[in-house]
């Protein structure tokens, strides 16, 4: 495990302990830290941005009543991710909302207009990646999306986010990454090393 990861873990554990003791700013620190992941969990279930915002907020409100029983940062992350995913499913089933078709989801990357030269390469890389990711199955897209926002190796969180058996995450991740590497042009890797 990288030292950065255990440092992060220690900081999260401190925030959690202080938040349990009623320190609002520590709780706010946890919100900053974990909301980006929860956002991806809601959005990966195909909900629109307004609904996803409400769901992520609901997960945090529900946490207030459960904070007492949560002892570790890993447990906290899994708890929040599970509630977010369940809320997302509940809303989706209630409204019979359809997952957006892949071509809609991947219609176009937002175009931020002309970019300075130093950003041009970066933007071109993102576009390559976008095109490559859009060729993957929904399952692979969702899995890689969640993994990209998860500190490794945290399969509990990924399992909770996607309701996927823990044991199938590793092999599926391997297959999805292999497909993505195939779909990326060979110069993607070369450019990236520059």
């Amino acid at each position: 495990m990288m030292p950065e990861t255990s440092l992060h873990h220690a900081r999260m554990a401190d925030l959690l302990e202080a938040a349990r003791d009623g320190d609002h700013s520590s709780l706010a620190g946890l919100v900053d830290e974990l909301t980006p992941l929860l956002w991806q969990v809601a959005r990966a279930q195909g909900l629109d941005r307004d609904t996803s915002s409400d769901i992520v907020q609901t997960a945090w409100l529900k946490l207030l009543g459960a904070l007492d029983q949560i002892r570790s940062p890993m447990a906290l992350t899994s708890w929040l991710v599970t509630v977010t995913r369940r809320e997302a499913w509940r809303v989706r089933n209630a409204s019979r909302m359809e997952l957006p078709a892949k071509d809609v989801l991947f219609a176009e990357l937002p175009d931020h207009g002309p970019t300075p030269e130093e950003r041009r390469v970066e933007v071109e890389r993102t576009r390559q990646l976008w095109r490559a990711v859009s060729t993957l199955s929904d399952r692979c897209q969702r899995l890689l999306r969640i993994i990209a926002f998860t500190r490794r190796p945290d399969y509990d969180t990924v399992s909770a986010a996607l309701d996927m058996p823990r044991g199938s995450i590793g092999p599926t991740r391997g297959r999805c990454l292999a497909k993505l590497r195939d779909a990326l042009s060979a110069d993607f890797a070369e450019e990236s090393w520059q």
Binding site: R49, D54, V56, T58, L129, A148, F149, P153, G170, L180
Partner: protein, 155 residues
Amino acid sequence: MTSPDEPLDELDHMILAGVGDMWRQADPVPGDLLDRIKFAIDLENVDLEVMRLTEMAQPAAARGDEQSRLITFDSETVTIMVSIRQNPDGTIRVDGWLTPAGRHPIELRTASGTATTVSDEDGRFVLDPVCSGLVQLIVRPSGTTRTVTTPSISL
């Protein structure tokens, strides 16, 4: 801890970092979401029942009516329907109807303070005037220690 899969190599790590950056650019967390969450969870009572926003209708304005929004919040034990209307002076009027009907203390938290009222026997209540911005509606059902709260919404 061992995993059955192949360890990731450096290119995998780089691709995953790229996927993360891609989603951060294409689908960023809404700018106001962190503030909305922090505002909503700044509550003392943890015996909470969290209401869900279940319906938001924006009826077509007819005959020069001011625009009004109808919102429904639901939880296991309480339903609140609110109508939000703008007053001519720019402040906001909130008309609510709460079930189960009865006299229940109601609070509307805003950035600048908390307005309180009590619903009538039919469960109706009015908060007027309210300033625009983030608000959160809280009900403390009579005869319980519970706090029923909505998510924060922007008026």
